[in-house]
């Protein structure tokens, strides 16, 4: 595995550092986990394309030496779809926030999953809108506080992995910043998977989520990740009540199904053959 120094040298735009994230924000570590996964897969830098959404999480690519397009809020997967379909030889990874992917970008999310297009969607779930200053997001737990829910959210949150499964994603996994080595593995599997891969990382926003919910220390937030985590297998034995407040981590789904870009290529080939005959 790459040391940080090696990683920075090989993959980072070091003159852009230090990054702009707040002290203790999860984004930096997740960004590094992604890079290390890419490195372990031996993917050429020039053939990896990142699409970033808008949000604090949308700054990941700004420090990295890949082709990166930072699109409009919520549309990362639509951009990614165009890139991948036109140039299938690129490995495409979209990085989004819980608001970016789960709120405004929800439609592209479920359709990318449905099509089973060979992309990796990485959602950094800090359960809040970080960039705009702490509004509730579709993953803010019921009763938790945010700047638009000062007395506690009255909305039920998404379980983004269940949503991905419902939409038909063929690789679905959840990790946390605390379980950083597992996260790296999950990202590796996700990128290697042929089809639509979804990885949700439970992350920490000490500045807003933490502040509004009385747990401002980054380390405390990581400890909470550790203590709340149960593995997918362990979770199968638990009742919904027991799972209340838990983070289920690991791989939920990993299966093969017709992949959109290949199916489309097959269509082209069919015509090509017809023409040749």
């Amino acid at each position: 595995m790459l040391s940080t120094a090696q990683m920075l040298e090989k993959y980072y735009l070091v003159d852009k550092l230090p990054n702009i994230w707040c002290a203790g924000c999860g984004d930096g570590a997740i960004a590094a986990a992604l890079v290390r996964a890419v490195d372990e897969l031996g993917i050429d830098k020039n053939s990896l394309t990142q699409v970033n959404g808008i949000g604090c999480s949308g700054r990941v690519g700004a420090y990295q030496d890949f082709d990166v397009i930072k699109g409009t809020h919520g549309r990362a997967l639509a951009f990614a779809t165009g890139i991948k379909l036109f140039k299938p030889e690129l490995t495409v990874v979209a990085i989004m926030g819980d608001g970016d992917c789960g709120a405004i970008g929800g439609n592209h999310f479920i359709h990318a999953a449905r099509r089973n297009i060979d992309l990796t969607a990485l959602v950094i779930n800090n359960r809040i809108y970080g960039m705009t200053g702490g509004q509730s997001s579709p993953t803010t737990p019921f009763g938790d506080r945010a700047s638009t829910a000062l007395t506690g959210s009255v909305e039920r949150p998404f379980d983004l992995c269940q949503l991905a499964i419902g939409a038909g994603a063929t690789y679905v996994a959840r990790g946390t910043v605390y379980h950083i080595k597992q996260l790296q593995r999950l990202l590796k599997n996700a990128i290697a998977h042929k089809g639509f891969s979804f990885v949700e990382v439970v992350s920490q926003c000490p500045i807003y989520y933490g502040r509004y919910n009385d747990e401002a220390s980054p380390a405390a937030m990581l400890r909470w990740q550790k203590e709340s985590a149960v593995s997918v297998t362990a979770a199968q034995g638990l009742s919904p009540e027991e799972l209340q407040g838990k983070i289920v981590i690991g791989e939920f789904v990993a299966k093969d199904e017709p992949e959109f870009v290949s199916e489309y290529q097959a269509l082209i080939d069919r015509y090509g053959q017809e023409a040749a005959e």
């Binding site: 595995m1 040391s3 940080t4 120094a5 090696q6 990683m7 920075l8 980072y12 550092l17 230090p18 990054n19 994230w21 707040c22 002290a23 203790g24 924000c25 999860g26 984004d27 930096g28 570590a29 590094a32 986990a33 290390r36 910043v177 950083i180 080595k181 790296q184 000490p206 220390s217 980054p218 380390a219 990581l222 400890r223």
Partner: protein, 77 residues
């Protein structure tokens, strides 16, 4: 203060801190299982307090959100 330690696997492990990147979030300080890091009172930035305690779990390097920690291993000790 030494900045390296010999690991159980017999490698020499150097912990490289880049204070310019460190934002003093306290993650390494609080979560290193071996309490290797301290926190400067004025700035909150991390410093190496007791490298010799390091058990080479590798986590501080992966956790640090600011790329301020690099673990350098010398293979052929």
């Amino acid at each position: 203060m030494p900045d390296s330690v010999v690991t159980r696997k017999g490698q020499r492990l150097r912990i490289l801190l880049t204070p310019r990147y460190c934002k003093g979030c306290g993650i390494c300080v609080e979560l290193c299982p071996a309490k290797v890091f301290g926190s400067e009172p004025a700035t909150g930035k991390a410093y190496l307090a007791a490298v010799e305690r390091c058990v080479d779990c590798g986590l501080c390097e992966l956790w640090c959100p600011d790329y301020a920690i690099s673990l350098e291993r010398e293979a052929n000790l």
